[in-house]
């Protein structure tokens, strides 16, 4: 925190304390502006770095209210084990589930539409056992719950999307950072392919535009990018441990473009190297320029 911002914050919060309730909102706005845009938490315990990252963003209660129905969307796309880094780390998912319940969530739903056999993906990823043990509702996607949604995007005019995403009070996106042949990298914006019904393989013909279109429609409350292990080659499903790098990191934030832009740096790339990040920035979905982001790094 620089001096100028400190003084501003101190002045405003002082004013907030001394002034009557009407100015409380102003104080809150100031506090909000002091919050980091991105939190990068590093440490050996996935559960603790997730909690630290969310705390630095204002705590889970800032995002989840009592009685909320929360959808958590990890990547459960592949029949791979956690060590192979093909799916979101189950401990990261479990940590978020736990925090949501602590914040008083009424129901926490965890699902994905996998590419491989759903049963194997849910079990082998470790996500279904971990999340359901904490009381989350872990169901396979139900074909009847895909409904055509007008997207009005550049590539996607309308597409069947999973209704539970839109029915939930809060949505938390928990992707994993991975190499990907056609998109180069898959992180938060690409994770929404998991709520697409129909023949989603077709969107590869205009992948970057389609991903930006999806992010215009789906606005998560919070995004946590799992980089406990990242997959550096042969993605998005990997398989060989030689392609896995253990970073013990999660990146939390609200702006999906910024998160993916930061995620690119984990692979030695820049956000602008990724088509969907560039388009997302140009369309104002978020900001890819990391120099303009308040990034807080935490070691746990």
């Amino acid at each position: 925190m620089d001096r100028r911002r400190f003084l501003k914050l101190a002045a405003l919060s002082g004013a907030g304390l001394s002034l009557p309730g009407g100015l409380q909102a102003l104080a809150e706005a100031a506090e909000k502006s002091a919050r980091p845009d991105l939190v990068v938490a590093h440490g050996t315990s996935p559960e603790r770095i997730v909690k630290a990252a969310i705390d630095a963003l204002g705590g889970i209660k800032h995002f989840i209210s009592r009685g909320d129905v929360v959808v958590i969307k990890p990547n459960i796309g592949w029949d791979r084990t956690p060590e192979q880094a093909g799916n979101t780390n189950p401990e990261v998912v479990a940590a978020v589930v736990k925090l949501c319940f602590e914040a008083g969530a009424k129901k926490v739903k965890v699902f994905d539409r996998p590419v491989n056999d759903p049963r194997r993906c849910y079990v082998q990823s470790g996500i279904a056992p971990a999340a359901s043990a904490l009381g989350a509702e872990v169901n396979y996607v139900d074909d009847r719950k895909f409904k055509d949604v007008i997207i009005g995007g550049e590539a996607l005019k309308s597409w069947p999307l999973y209704t539970e995403i839109f029915e939930a009070d809060k949505v938390i996106n928990i992707p994993i950072a991975k190499h990907h042949g056609s998109a180069k990298l898959t992180m938060s914006m690409k994770n929404w392919m998991g709520v697409m019904g129909g023949s989603r393989r077709q969107i590869h013909q205009k992948l970057d535009e389609s991903l930006a279109d999806l992010s215009m429609k789906i606005k998560p409350t919070l995004t946590i990018l799992d980089a406990v292990r990242i997959l550096t080659a042969n993605g998005p499903q990997g398989g060989s441990l030689a392609d896995v790098k253990k970073l013990d990191t999660v990146i939390a934030g609200i702006d999906p473009v910024a998160i993916d832009s930061y995620g690119a740096t984990l692979f030695g790339m820049k956000g602008s190297d990724l088509g969907y990040v560039r388009i997302g920035d140009a369309r104002g979905i978020g900001k890819m320029d990391l120099t303009k982001q308040r990034i807080k790094k935490i070691q746990v």
Partner: protein, 520 residues
Amino acid sequence: MKRFLTIQNVRRIVQGFFLLLFLFLFIQTESKGNDELGYPVRLFLDFDPLILVTTLLSAHAAAKAFALSLITIIITILFGRVFCGWACPLGTLNNLVGSIRKKRPVGMYGNWYRVKYYILTAILVSALFTLQPVGVMDPLSLIIRSFSVSVFPLFNYSVRAFFDTIYNVNPLGLAGLTEPVYTVLKKTVLTFEQSLYDQGVFIGAVFFVILGLNFVEKRFWCKYLCPLGAFLGILSRFSLLKRTVSEGCTSCGACATVCQGNAQPDVKDRWRDTECLECRNCDDICPQNAVSFGFTGRKKTAAMDLSRRRMIASIVSGVVAVPLLRAVPISRPGAQDPGLLRPPGGLEEQEFLTRCVKCGECMKVCTTNGLQPTLFEAGVEGIWSPMLVPRIGYCEFRCTLCGQVCPTGAIKKLSLEEKAKVRIGTAMFDKGRCLPWAHGKPCIVCEEVCPTSKKAIWFEEAQVRDRQGKMVTVKQPHVDLELCIGCGICEAKCPVLGRPAIYVSNVGESRSKSNQLLLG
């Protein structure tokens, strides 16, 4: 007052137990997402001594689990065909269907019981010459195959259609009541997804005709056609349990009306022990209480009375069937059906056919529904054996369930490490249909889904010109022939529907010496 605990009722309870056990194990023949199934789902087949014997004859070896079928043999030698009368799930179904018709003719086809012995003889003789046709008629193979490929998919279809209709129409808010029921059904008896099979209609029709024959005569199949029944019948020739009729018999003929096996219980000293299903109906019904079963005394029975000419005809049929079915061009390298993709761990084709009994367990358990029954792709000899059809479902990279459930070892049980290396075929591109190759459009879904690491599908970026003359960069995919295992996920997920732009044929399959492509 009528006693409840008659032998007949005890038998019905036992039959019900075995039928439910069969259905339970059948329903458990499905992935729950773990590497192992956790239930001995092929248990009934392990107890089938006919498959043991034919496999020993045709393949000169048998899966270890068939040691259990020795128990069936011992029980039959002690007590006769109790397996047929008390345990066989197909027998019980025949019994049930046959009971629908109240007044029924009995023993109309007196000497037809011999037919099953001729069928058995032909099967055994052809097995001696390495043919394995037993699966087509073995009752356990038959019922598992019929349930897997036809009856159960039909059941699932009906239930789903019923609940989906109520859900969509929602008359009087009824869906609120039916949806919880549907959820319970989905978690218990329904399959994870609706599975669909080629040959389902054909195999189902055969099965329903067999059940329908009970209207001609109750347990028609068991009495006249079943080769396992014939096999156990021969064994029960030596059974220690004997039926005796005391002096009190008034020859009223009541026993003949209830006999399940056409064993002519009413003809004194001419009881056909080979036909008796040990149902004990004759004991229960006898008004004089003259019938008893026991281990003492001399066994007085009718002779088996198989005509020598017909026996010779059966033997000759069994012998002739071998060259008849085998003298076809598909045995030549390169002349076989290129789409015949055998499950991973499948033995070399000749050996595979000497073992596969077409029970369909592998098709039932296949997580993607990709394993389908053949018609003539593997010749008439290989009818209803398993074949992967990637457009219906690919072979899941880390799944080994088909090898786990195969009762005969036609599909070897593989470890995950072995599975990753077994090649069931090779994928190749149809560049005239592939989006980046033929149409200058980005795609490479095939590369994304390719499960080997490193990936067998790779791409290079190429500059192509579109219609307006603009240069477009596309990623053009290639197959690495050394790495491709032929799992077919690329074909399954290729967005070029209908005829895909990448497809798998069996060239290069690990199990074959001759069907190879690469040098060395």
